[in-house]
Symmetry: C2
């Protein structure tokens, strides 16, 4: 186990009607940027409840934040915060709205182009406080320190991480996820499982505890993923998936480990160009990453197959490992996720460009360090 | 799943030589109470390192804090803090030193007898900040909001809980636990498992995720418990047990659940009178509590037997459940824990008194609500 600093200071208000606590959570702030995405929060009544809680505040709205959130939205938000002297950002939506809000929070105090922070030319020194109301179980942005932004001009999708960006509070009401469309619910489940994979498939020795916790979160997704698609209004299923989503990338599974995240970096290059839903990209790519790297540590994949998919520990290790990967693919398919880029109209034309950009900052991953040619191979397997 | 507020703001500095960060963590404080227990920290060099980090501070020592920490130590600490204008408490030791420090932290700002807080006559409104350096994996006091104190005059052992009592930081260096005597190491493992049981055996519906995480922590104790006894210097084993100990009672397993804790309350009455090591009391009592309550929800015990002890799901439920309980007892015995009060020279004379005191504030537990006569039965089973 590696040394680590555990710090998860975000307060999570979890459960039905927790929005009733919003007013007390923002009582110290006066000028608020209310950031949100499309029209769904107007349909399900969250918008009205938020406006009601903001009645004694001066607030400004930034709406229309899209999935794969654009740098242009970030810059627009920074402009509002600077001109209107905003002291708090309230992000209402899924990971995209929260990520965009985090980037705004950091950009307000950065004197030059906010994209510098993503290009690693500067680090976050100060940020506006943010709070969130989550409407989609997927990214864990509601509890973690990271944000991913899409620069539509350069077609780059890059991330920043700073403890200053952890939300002060996040309201997680599982009923808010009941109206999420089926395909996005499924993509969210895949996203959560992908986050676990990125931390589970790791070469750090002596992380038995973290790995058992990881398997617990995977089992939760496997149990409740089909149920939330079948019965979107099943509260217990929505609650388990939502809390699993937060814990999966809160830090809990990675403290004391290196983590991999190569597959995330590859997917970001795909969705930066094709504006693909992140979870769909992960569903296509992850089983192929698994196949490509499994021989680096076959025992880990045997453990995965046995502990997560109940595959008996009998026969050749590589067969057990392959069965585990196959089960993963079948599970994603059972959630109606595509298995190839072909199915989502992505062909090989930009593979070269994507692979080049994926290793822009150097080799990626740690389970197996991937060079450009490795990335190309994984992309080809995913065609 | 019940509604819950997740907030674990304690920063954990985990790993080798994390004590090198102590100075920076206390830089905002000037007048420090350095609380510790017996002589072990002088033998293993921690004492000197702490003193070195305090070299630019004014500090006061409160030493000799005993297991089952006494109210008299708490009062002594409060006196020092008040007279010497202390602004921070540094607790160096196991759960007893930390619990005593928390009680002092709360008592400093309470104008009357600090025991009132334990008797539920008043609540904690303000507390001194505390930090900890942990030397024993067991209680999770280093990350949670509770403290248990023994009133030696009234022979009562009671607890307080307040988020104000969560440490600002805790330094967890697994090497510090390598010199813990064998019996205390074993009692610590039992204590950790007992904390998981108190949260795992619960009647709240829809807590699948929490229960899988709980099983992960139990498996970690089952794997590494024997190893830390066999090879006290095994870093990975010590690290897994230490981090399991913190997570077990951090809140992670109980958010969204009711929790039981009846067995803890019973054990507190035993150790209040007999000054027994808490983990030993738990090892004796818990399998008997399990037997006494299992028919309240036999499926939960079948799940436990199957998921934790790998007992096949075949045959009568009650037989599977009993096998799981038997395995638990055998595991405790394999750690050289006693199985009866008789073995630790406790007879039935004070059972009546203990049972009466255990239900002082009303029925205890939630898996099965226990009245005085139920407590008596469990004590009799443990004779």
């Amino acid at each position: 186990m590696l040394n680590f600093n555990y710090l998860i200071p975000t307060e999570i208000l979890f459960g039905k009607e927790q929005i009733s606590n919003l007013e007390s959570k923002i009582e110290d702030y006066n000028r608020i940027l209310f950031a949100w995405g499309g029209g769904s929060i107007k349909k399900n009544g969250i918008y009205e409840k938020v406006i009601d809680s903001l009645k004694n505040k001066t607030y400004f709205e930034l709406s229309g934040i899209k999935p794969n959130p654009r740098l242009s939205s970030v810059k627009k938000g920074i402009r509002i915060c600077t001109e209107d002297d905003v002291d708090f950002i309230l992000a209402v939506g899924g990971g995209s709205v929260i990520d965009c809000s985090k980037a705004i929070a950091a950009g307000v105090y950065y004197p030059d182009d906010v994209w510098d922070l993503f290009m690693r030319k500067a680090t976050v020194e100060k940020a506006l406080p943010i709070g969130t109301i989550l409407t989609l179980a997927a990214t864990a942005s509601e509890i973690n320190a990271s944000a991913v932004i899409n620069n539509e001009e350069t077609q780059q999708k890059l991330s920043i991480t700073s403890n200053l960006l952890r939300p002060k509070f996040s309201i997680l009401d599982p009923t808010y996820t009941m109206t999420v469309p089926r395909a996005h619910t499924a993509a969210g489940v895949v996203d959560i499982m992908s986050h676990v994979f990125e931390q589970y498939f790791d070469t750090t020795k002596g992380t038995y505890l973290q790995d058992r916790l990881a398997e617990g979160i995977l089992k939760t997704c496997i149990k409740y993923g089909p149920i939330v698609l079948e019965n979107p209004d099943d509260y217990e299923a929505r609650a388990n998936v939502m809390w699993a989503g937060s814990l999966a990338l809160s830090g809990l599974l990675s403290f004391g480990k290196k983590g991999d995240f190569a597959t995330h970096k590859i997917e970001h290059e795909v969705s930066a160009i094709y504006d693909l839903t992140h979870g769909i990209g992960m569903a296509i790519l992850f089983p192929n990453w698994m196949k490509y790297v499994m021989h680096e540590n076959i025992d880990k994949f045997v453990e995965f197959a046995h502990n997560v998919w109940d595959i008996p520990n009998m026969g050749e290790k590589k067969d057990i490992a392959n069965l585990g990967i196959q089960k993963t693919r079948e599970f994603f398919s059972s959630l109606d996720m595509p298995t190839t880029f072909f199915q989502v109209n992505i062909s090989y034309e930009k593979y070269e460009e994507m692979a080049t950009k994926a290793v822009y900052f150097g080799e990626i991953g740690s389970f197996k360090k991937l060079k450009k040619e490795d990335v190309l191979e994984i992309l080809k397997l995913s065609l």
